[in-house]
């Protein structure tokens, strides 16, 4: 039982947190982008249809677009962006990587901002801010967790060095 290196163990609970952290990052990113694109349609084409389609895909009842925007941004429902970023933060805290905790908190603070829902430009700016913050968070994950990037050329050389 004792042949495994006891330092830097990869525990099941940590794998689970990494998995969910990634899923929430993707969810925030995709929902924010879909929301932004629907908001542009609302602004430029005066069409609520993309917002209604988005609501449908997320299982949120659509009555008025202001209410839907509030639900998708801050609602206490699993498809809201705030719900996702808070759970993302819980997983970051669980992993104990200080920089991820810090950046996820900054993201939560960004999402918690309350734009005036009847001011479409303000809501668009808010959605853009969230996308910028989630992009930044992705960059931090890369810097903290991802292995160093190696160029394709170097990789080709490595293949030659495998001496098969």
């Amino acid at each position: 039982m004792s042949h495994i290196n006891k330092k830097n163990l990869i525990l099941p609970s940590n794998l689970y947190k990494v998995y969910w952290l990634g899923r929430y990052v993707e969810r925030v990113d995709s929902v924010s982008r879909a929301l932004l694109s629907s908001l542009y349609s609302l602004k430029q084409l005066k069409s609520e249809e993309p917002l209604m389609a988005l609501a449908d895909s997320l299982g949120i009842e659509f009555t008025k677009h202001e209410k839907f925007i509030e639900d998708i941004l801050h609602g206490d429902i699993p498809s809201s962006i705030l719900y996702s970023v808070r759970h993302m933060r819980t997983n970051a805290i669980g992993l104990g990587i200080e920089r991820l905790v810090r950046e996820s908190n900054i993201l939560v603070i960004a999402v918690e901002e309350r734009p005036r829902l009847n001011e479409i430009d303000e809501v668009i700016k808010h959605a853009n801010d969230i996308i910028a913050a989630i992009n930044n968070f992705g960059r931090v994950i890369n810097e903290e967790i991802a292995p160093p990037k190696i160029s394709e050329e170097k990789m080709r050389q490595q293949t030659r060095h495998q001496q098969q």
Partner: protein, 470 residues
Amino acid sequence: MHVDSLPSKALDFSKTNSFNEAVDSSLIIREEYRQFFKNIQNPKLLRLREKAMSADLTAYLEGFTYNVNPNEYNAVPMDFVPRIIDRKKFQIIEDGIKQRANALNLFLKDVYTEQKTIIPDDLIFGSEYFNPELIGHLPKNDIFIQVYGADLLYNGVTFYVIEDNLRVPSGVTYPLKIREMSDRYLNALKKGYKIEPFKPWKSLLETMKDSSWVKNPFMVLLTDGPSGSAYFEHMYLSKLMNIPLVEAGDLYVTKSGHIAVRVPGEGEIQVDVIYRRVEDIDEFVPGLTKAYLDGKVALVNSPGTGVADDKLVYSYVPELIRHYLSEDPILEQPKSYNPTIPEELENAILNIENLVVKERGGYGGMGTVIPRDHPKSKRGPLIEKIKKEITEKPDDYLLQETLDFSTTVTRESFSPLIMRDSYVDLRVFSYYTKEGPMVPAGGLSRYARHGRITNNSSGGGVKDTWIVNL
């Protein structure tokens, strides 16, 4: 140094009847705090307000939280004005806590082996924390309570122990985090002080190693997970001790009855010591109590220790000290009334307005009522309600005299300098090694932001505690 030497309105005192640890009744700043006030007014110390704000924000962003409910994210309110205690005074606390740790540990040994304690049987066996599975079991070195946290109040003359925490006492990392933030942003406030090092994790590691039958034990810290109220502490401690932080799903009982940690794709590693920061251990790791009783794993603390921090048992601690150690208690505790004893119930009812009412199973200030702190208009009905409850369910309560305890100064603002007086308590920790209990120099000072209740779970803030040689 008189407070008049400070900028006007720098100190806002409202609790004039209580002993203030920083300023005496003639408004002279006490010796312990004199240098601190000089430091804080040093004209070379620039941007103090911004530094304090940075420290607050950094701690918040780094997850320094205490969350009463799982989905909350509440920063622990920190104060960078430390509680400063002279070594001579702390020595009394240290000696008293060691004495108490010894007596409580002997009591637990007695409860689970000889069963010849001086406490009525129905109090022990009727306690929800009495664990019959432990009868006849002795942990290594006969130590049940490796980690013990005692809550103390000071009245200007002596320290009183108001509560013993023997299950999973928390809060030891809070002063560490404040000290870390102070070192980073506000180090100049320490100028002129020789503060004794506070490194409780070293004592904890030692006590964990001592608890194991194995020579080089593999040790882990078992947490209830990131949604738990004290996760910050669990993570912080595991990093300081350089041991894995594990959750329920990481551990399981092997075929041989040992406890192992699962390493996906690689196998398992036998765990020898678990510092468990969960109460219901078998809920988290089914079979853990059995593995412990079979000697396959050591647990810090042992299951069943809660019977010794039962609030009704607490009222007997001075007698336990005399009985097991043949010594007089070094530390006082407030006069308690045990409602299961008819005369004490009668006295408590007569005097109820001046007592603190505690639920027997309460913790962290929850279930505690101080009638004196309620507005006079509402006090009557409240007292009648309490009288009824303690008469009907005497087993569920303990009553204590209300102490006039000390206040100290807490930061309202560093620039402009505004401080106010707040009630403050002290949690001191003891780590029981094979050499005996060790009490690190320092502890968690908690201040009340409103009223007198200082517990974090009731909204209290935290301070670092400096032990200094004057």
